[in-house]
């Protein structure tokens, strides 16, 4: 009996060790400074593209095949520094749209109504870049979803 008990204990320890090793391997490795820099660069590149779109840069709009305005108005003309965008308040009931809306819904509403542009695919690179710039320029704002 003693031998069996010892055998079970040893088997348990081995199994436990294997689980620990496997589990550790399932997690990602420690981040290197180079990785963190690369992650940031990916994000900031999108912020820059979004910044240019937001400020009415024709070349960037052409490159992404979007027409965000036909009135000469750019997003930044009502939202300097990304102010009054309130990304921290979405999702919420949006009065102008008359329904529960996300930030992407509102971006498209602004493109279509005040700017008289052509609304864009909500999952398109242009939308993601605009969203990146709007969130980045409002970093540090207090999260307050649903606020009117």
């Amino acid at each position: 009996m003693k031998m069996i008990r010892y055998g079970l204990i040893v088997a348990g320890v081995i199994l436990g060790s294997l689980l620990i090793v496997t589990s550790a391997r399932a997690h990602k490795d420690k981040h290197t400074p180079q990785q963190l820099k690369a992650f940031e660069e990916v994000f900031m590149e999108q912020v820059r593209v979004g910044d240019l779109l937001f400020h009415g840069d024709d070349a960037t709009a052409k490159k992404l095949n979007v027409e965000l305005s036909r009135t000469g108005m750019a997003c930044a003309m009502c939202h300097p520094f990304g102010s009054d965008n309130h990304p921290h308040e979405f999702p919420k009931f949006q009065e102008q749209i008359g329904q529960f809306a996300t930030l992407r819904d509102m971006i498209n509403w602004c493109i279509e109504k005040p700017n008289e542009g052509v609304k864009i695919d909500p999952d398109s690179p242009a939308m993601k870049a605009l969203e990146a710039y709007i969130y980045w320029s409002n970093r540090g704002s207090k999260l307050d979803p649903g606020r009117h």
Partner: protein
Amino acid sequence: MDENQRERDELQKTLQGEGKRPDRSLKITRRTFLHKSVMTGAAGVATYGWFPLIGTLDLVVGQAGQPAAAFKFAWISDNHLYPKDVNTRFVDKAVRAVKEVQAMKPAADFLIHGGDLAQLGDPVELDLGNDILKEVKIKKVFIPGEHDWYLDMGQKWTNLFGQSNWTFDHKGVRFVGLDTVSRGPDYWTAKKMSPKERMGHMATLDGSVAGAWAGVGRDQLQWLNQTLSSWDKAKPIVIFSHNPLYEYYPPWNFWVRDWREVQEVLRPFSNVTNIHGHTHQVLYNELGKMRSIGMLATSWPWPYAPEGVPALTRCQVRADPGDHFDGVGYSRLTFTAANKIENEYVMWRKDVFAEAPSDSGCADNVNQNVHPRIADQEWPYYGAYK
């Protein structure tokens, strides 16, 4: 932002000293008391005591016993006209303002146009604006905005409207028009920018390339000093400028960089009113002995700056972006027979002032923290303004 706060503290310390207030001949009417009663409920404002909060602002500008003749004048600015084939909305609103000024009864003695008639300084835009303004048959005076100037450095604007600063006396008031836009630091030569590129950066309110372009300049300060030297220190002075003559929010040039020197020139005078454009919003401030009133644009309203909104300002209603006639308009100003100026914001769609925080253009931003853009801080720019 810390630098902004440092500047603002200095401005308050320098100009808001004991007894440094606009002339005591100021009288508070029932209307301004009503405004006060609304505002004293808001935290942080009650400490400003009895100072008036404008809706329509009544204030005495003449000396007691020396009544001036009654007259009206009107302010229109910040039309930001594009060529008609690009944008007809801005044209419609400029036309509406012009028609309403022309229809004023009794008629206004003159119209002051406060700058930014054009959006990109294009001669087509300036000619369009000039044609629209021809419908106003009364006397017209003009000061430039930065959008009018930096494509050809003011050549077309000057050809159309003449000298960019001037003065005249009218019924006991000395009026001065200042040019606060043409003396910006040269950001274009070293980078070999085309006129269009230069204009593009200047036309971007939150851009970081054009820098602190708003200023009066040493030469014009000397001219202002000389212009006012013969004027009685107690008599009213009204100064028109595109930018406010104090520091509200420098990153958007909601200031003039040499406000200290301007205030030094104005210090001996007890009745100075600065009426300015550029900020596209209801704005009121008192600094030292000068009161300052911001005018509406006809084009679109700017949001209130993330910080620095003068506590004396009673904020306007949040504009509905779906209605391009909301949050914009012009001003009718009246010198009454009792020597008072009344400023009336003519905002086309809604009430001018917010009664509840949820409707206020200021209170709406309590949880907001915003930051300057970056895409124009790199050189050479990729994509920008090509």
